[in-house]
Every structure is written in C-alpha cells, then in structure tokens.
C-alpha cells in the first residue's frame, strides 16, 4: 500500500482475530479469501465456527468449492457483486447484538463499501478489522458532476458521466466510500499529463 500524506486516506492494518467476539462477519472478495485463510491459521477452530463469510465476487462452481473447503468450518455465502454482498451484510447487521466483530478484506472498493454500510449501524470504522488484498483499483467520485466511477486503475481518469479529465486524489470520503477526482486541466484545457496505470 502506498504511503500517503493525505490524512483522509484510509489505512488497512491487516486482519487479526478478536477471540472474545461472540460472532464474526467477514466480507471479502476472491483475493481477500486468502487473507481469511491466514486469519484462521492464527485462531482456533471455534473462532472459524463463530464466523460467517460473505464472499462478494463472481466465482465458478469449482472455485466456490475450493474456497469452501479452504475456509471450513466457517459458514460461507457467495454473492456475484459487492452491492449484493453488502445488501446481505445490512440484513445481518439489522438483527445483530453487541459482541459482533466485523472484518473486511479485498480491494479498496470492497472494504470501503463495508465501512460505509456499517456506519449506518453505528459501527465505528476503527473497530472494523481490515486488510487490503488484490488490485489497487479505486472508486472515484467526480467532484464536478458527483458521478461515481468504479474500478479506476489510471490517473488521470476520464469521468464516465461528464467527460472531464480527473486527477485522482488521495482525499477519501468514508461516507461516499470514494476517492475524490478533480478536473486536471481547468486552467489550460487540454494540458493533461500522460495517463499512468497507477492503481492496477
């Protein structure tokens, strides 16, 4: 993870088990599942038994089977997309008591969506244990038209909604679960630095 001087840029310290929690929910994608395997290796079987994993990424049946074996005895539910995984998370949080510990691991858009949803249930973002895995792609909000651009891997990036060329900043909004993109050639239109694939 690149170090940023921007204070709003989230940091993901890595997963560690809270052995006292009475139940755990882990939201992850395919890449994050490897971090969950490592997390389980640092805890006992009882920890895994208390855990529900929501895996939000499209997987083949064979891949699902592998993950299931890898992560048993935790119960695991599969969702093809992040929004579908988050919808299930919300359902679970609605009924959950204190003593639940939330984990998120995978790409930043995935972790950000978990933190964003959890805030609606008054879960402090610092109490969510997070680990970044996989692509560095970002979710970006165009500060001009307010549209969201998903899976951004380059800087600058063209706004998918208003067409402006945006500088992707490290300025992050937890509420929006997005980095801020600001018009890069406002002074001299067309004066745009070369596009770099910064967030592969």
């Amino acid at each position: 993870m690149t170090i940023s001087t921007n204070k709003s840029r989230p940091i993901y310290p890595g997963l560690s088990p809270d052995l006292n929690a009475r139940s755990n929910i882990i939201v992850c994608d395919k890449g994050g599942a490897a971090a969950v395997t490592e997390l389980f290796s640092r805890a006992d079987t009882a920890f895994a038994k208390r855990t529900t994993i929501l895996l939000a990424e499209t997987l083949s049946d064979a891949e699902k089977q592998t993950v299931k074996t890898e992560l048993s005895p935790a119960s695991i539910e599969f969702f093809p997309t992040i929004p579908e995984g988050i919808a299930r998370l919300r359902e679970m949080l609605e009924a959950a008591p204190m003593g639940l510990r939330l984990y998120a691991t995978g790409t930043e858009p995935l972790i950000g969506s978990v933190v964003q949803a959890a805030a609606d249930y008054a879960i402090d973002h610092l109490s969510i244990r997070t680990e970044h895995r996989g692509s560095l792609m970002r979710r970006v909000q165009c500060v001009h038209c307010k549209g969201f651009i998903e899976n951004v891997t380059t800087n600058p990036v063209t706004c998918a909604h208003c067409g402006l060329t945006l500088l992707v900043r490290d300025h992050y909004s937890r509420r929006l679960a997005a980095f801020q993109g600001v018009c890069i050639d406002a002074e001299v239109p067309g004066d745009v630095p070369p596009t770099e694939a910064l967030y592969q």
Binding site: D18, A21, M98, G99, L100, Y121, D124
Partner: protein, 321 residues
C-alpha cells in the same frame, strides 16, 4: 497549549446530599453568565489552603445550557487524601470565593450511538448527571446502572429515579446487590456504547467485562478522577530557565509550577489525556508514575513524566521546561 484562563466565582449554595458528599452551586463573581458546556464536562477548582495551592477537577452536574450557575459534587475523602476535598468540605461555605477553569470535556457521549449504557460507582455518578440531562433532551436512548454503598451514601438516588424513572437502576452494596454487568452488556443491540466512572477497580472490571464479551474498545469509555497521590517534598529544576522549584508533599509538580507562575501544559489533571507529558533531562530519584497514559517502555526509559500526577520519591528532577 496550557489550561484556559481562570474565572472567579462565589459559592451560592451548599447542600449535604449524602453522608460524605456536598453539592456546591457556583455563580460568577459579577453574576455574569458562565460558559455553556456539554454533557460529561468538568472544571478544575483552585484551592488555597495555607501556603498550599491545589487544583482538583470536578464534573459539572447541572443542565449544560444553564449558564446562571455551575454545580459540582465533592466527596470528602477524609484524612487519607491530600486534602482538596476536605478543604472544600471544611473551609468552603456560602459566600466563599474560588477560582475555576473553563469547562473541558474529556468524557462526551458519542452522538451517533444507538444506545448509551452508563455505569457509575459512588461519586462516579457526577459526570453522568449532565450527560443524562443532555441525552434526555436529545431523546437519546440511555440507561444508568449506579452502585452505591447504601442509600445514605449514594448521592441523588431519589432525584434521578423521579426524573428518569425506570432508566435508573440502583444497586446497594449494603444489601449485597451488584451491578449485573455481564447480563447488561451481554444483551445489547449493535451500536451501543458503555461509559464507566467510579473507583479504579470498578473501571478495570467494567472494561474487562466489556472486552471479554467482545465489545470493541471504540464502544467503551471511562473517566477516572484520581487526585495526585501525596509524597515527600522534592526539587524540580527547569532546564530552559534554570529555575529551581520545591514541590511540597501534598502538591503535584504541575501545581508547584503554577504556584510559581510557570505556564505548563495540561488538560485533565488526572493522568489520562497526555497533554502534560514532559521530557525528563536528568533525575537522581525514583520516579513514581501515577498516570494512566505512558506506556510501560516509556516509563522504564525514564525520559518522560506526566507532571499532573507523577512525582519522585526524593531528590531532584530536571525537566525540559
């Protein structure tokens, strides 16, 4: 940054509210309005007893929006303390003039919480008086669990029950009643926060119970007002100005510095906030670390001291001031 400016107040009312607890109502010396505060705030009261200057923190208890007077409650800790509370009980009466700091809040309720569980032991009820006032007016969901030795020794039991009804739960030690904390914390909805104020063993027990039940530390809050423990006099040398100041047996380093007009940083005066952390240049005595702030390695290094609470046994200490 050092403490806010002081304000002169006059004691307008004194009431014995429990066996060893008095309530004091303070008004501005010129009857000017006082500053508004938020639930959980405290002030520090400056006391001059003989040639000694002491400064103790006390929680504000009234309604946060009432700027006509402040109310504090003081438990007389008797002979085993350094004398601040005894001074308030024996030397302060209606008409006495005192100096106080502006309110400071190191124990605010978390605004976004879905529910607030307040755990108080004895005089630890005081910060919750204003906190409940505020939570009630915001229509926030809260409940108080209040442990007292007996109804005689517990302050405000009747008042609280009549004002907040079933949200107040009182547990009497003389009848063998204990706060059933595990049951209380074991059955709360997500987004609940716990706040505890009382004697240190009670705070430790509460924090530990919450942790073992899987409560994230972000949902758990505590405040402890511990007065600086007394000891033997010793000398403080200030490296920058070359001054030498004697810290008397019943004083903290911070109080001794203030008495001599040295402006040192502080906020909580209870060893919790970290504001008064001061570098130690040299020390020929043993440092008694009485704070809850420094880490164990920092203590062992002997390079830092929290001057609001900690002292040395004898000898002299040179501070980076």
């Amino acid at each position: 940054m050092s403490g806010s400016r002081l304000r002169r107040v006059r004691v307008a009312e004194v009431e014995q509210v429990a066996a060893r607890i008095k309530r004091f109502r303070l008004v501005d010396i010129d009857n000017a309005p006082l500053s508004e505060f938020s639930g959980g705030s405290h002030i520090s009261v400056v006391m001059h007893s003989g040639d000694r200057m002491m400064r103790n923190p006390y929680s504000l208890m009234g309604s946060p929006s009432d700027t006509s007077s402040y109310q504090i409650s003081v438990l007389n800790c008797g002979a085993d303390s350094r004398g601040g509370s005894k001074f308030m009980h024996e030397n302060v009466a209606v008409g006495t003039e005192l100096e106080i700091s502006e309110p400071l809040n190191l124990f605010p309720p978390v605004k976004l919480a879905k529910k607030h569980i307040l755990i108080a032991g004895g005089i630890g009820i005081t910060p919750f008086m204003s906190m409940m006032n505020e939570l009630d007016s915001l229509k926030s969901n809260f409940e108080l669990h209040y442990g007292v030795r007996s109804l005689d020794e517990g302050a405000y039991c009747k008042y609280l029950q009549s004002r907040y009804g079933s949200r107040i739960n009182i547990y009497r030690q003389d009848q063998g009643q204990m706060i059933p904390l595990e049951t209380i914390l074991g059955n709360q909805r997500l987004g609940t926060h716990m706040y505890v104020c009382g004697p240190k063993p009670m705070i430790d027990w509460s924090l530990q119970t919450a942790e073992l039940l899987g409560w994230p530390s972000e949902n758990v809050h505590s405040e402890q007002f511990s007065a600086p423990p007394p000891g033997k006099p010793f000398t403080v040398k200030l490296a920058k100005s070359g001054r030498e100041i004697t810290v008397k047996g019943h004083q903290s380093i911070l109080e001794a510095l203030e008495e001599h007009g040295v402006d040192a940083p502080f906020l909580c005066r209870g060893g919790a906030c970290g504001q008064c952390e001061t570098g130690v240049v040299a020390c020929d005595g043993y440092i008694e670390h009485n704070d809850h702030f420094l880490t164990e390695p920092e203590r062992v290094s002997g390079k830092k001291i929290m001057i609001c609470m900690s002292r040395i046994q004898t000898g002299s200490i040179t501070l980076d001031l």
